[in-house]
């Protein structure tokens, strides 16, 4: 099962992906998750609590950041743990979209007999500001 990491070294970037978030994406996530907090669809409500405007659900950012890992793992393993800190808002304009760039780095490999490893995630807005901190995924073989 150590084959998951064969050919990779610590610090290697394993995956890079960019996703476009629009207001439509937020409505879709609200429905799918049941999180109907109006700061995610009404500028006036968002501004009344001191925000610039409508922002993406933190859990939407967290969810999309891990998606390429599951795809990459296929049936070889599963996400055993996943943690993030929400550090910066992702504002989404009424028209158009914002791009979020996800980068996944191999941060730590456990004993080959265990085969699990820790991946570090970076999620950044277009201008380079990271929006998640302490973002780590532990993947384990099945």
């Amino acid at each position: 099962m150590a084959s998951l990491w064969e050919g990779h070294e610590l610090g290697d970037v394993l995956l890079e992906q960019s996703s476009e978030l629009s207001r439509d994406s937020l409505v879709k996530y609200a429905g799918a998750s049941g999180d109907f907090n109006p700061i995610h669809y009404r500028d006036d409500v968002a501004q009344s609590v001191g925000l610039e405007g409508v922002l993406a659900h933190g859990m939407l950012t967290m969810g999309l950041a891990v998606a390429p890992i599951t795809e990459w793992l296929g049936d070889r393993g599963f996400v055993a743990s996943y943690q993030v800190r929400f550090t910066k808002p992702v504002y989404v304009p009424p028209t158009g979209s914002v791009a979020l760039a996800v980068s996944v780095t191999l941060a730590k490999c456990d004993e080959p007999s265990e085969g699990s490893a820790t991946l570090a995630l970076t999620v950044a807005r277009e201008e380079g500001t990271t929006v998640l901190g302490k973002a780590f995924v532990v993947v384990s073989p099945r």
């Binding site: 994406s25 799918a32 998750s33 859990m59 967290m62 599951t70």
Partner: protein, 149 residues
């Protein structure tokens, strides 16, 4: 209003059973751009060794949210939910959660910390099948912002 320190170590009642629906898994996966076949295609999930569709890693937030609702609405909690910001989130799996499983979630408050006028409340929601098999623990730190002035 300030957070009641006696909340620490409080364990809430388990939630009503939640049935993880196959279409809900597909809908949630689409909403988080998760296109892995194990979230969408039953044959692919079975070929990968699962009995049904695999819920995406952050899907348990849907179930955990029901326990956070209990916490925020607890009359003695002293949490002003208009001042709550989601600080940290974590999922720790025993194994993947699958469509067709019926689960309950039980929240306990594990840490209360005050820093610079803000209060951080950390809770763990243990999600297990109705048969009592633990599947995933979802933990959140909620930051309750203090008065500005």
């Amino acid at each position: 209003m300030s957070v009641n320190p006696e909340l620490l170590d409080t364990i809430f009642e388990p939630t009503e059973p939640y049935l993880v629906g196959r279409e809900k898994v597909r809908e949630f996966a689409s909403a988080v751009f998760a296109s892995a076949p194990v979230h969408h295609n039953l044959e692919a999930a079975r070929a990968a060794g699962y009995d049904d569709l695999v819920a995406p890693p952050t899907f348990p937030i849907v179930i955990q949210e029901k326990t956070l609702h209990q916490l925020l609405n607890h009359p003695g909690a002293g949490i002003d939910f208009t001042r709550v910001v989601h600080g940290d989130q974590k999922f720790e799996y025993v194994r993947p959660l699958l469509a067709g499983e019926e689960v309950v979630a039980t929240l306990s408050v594990t840490k209360i910390q005050t820093l610079g006028g803000h209060t951080m409340v950390t809770s763990e929601s243990v999600i297990e099948t109705t048969a009592g098999e633990p599947v995933v623990t979802a933990s959140s730190t909620l930051v309750i912002r203090g008065d500005e002035g």
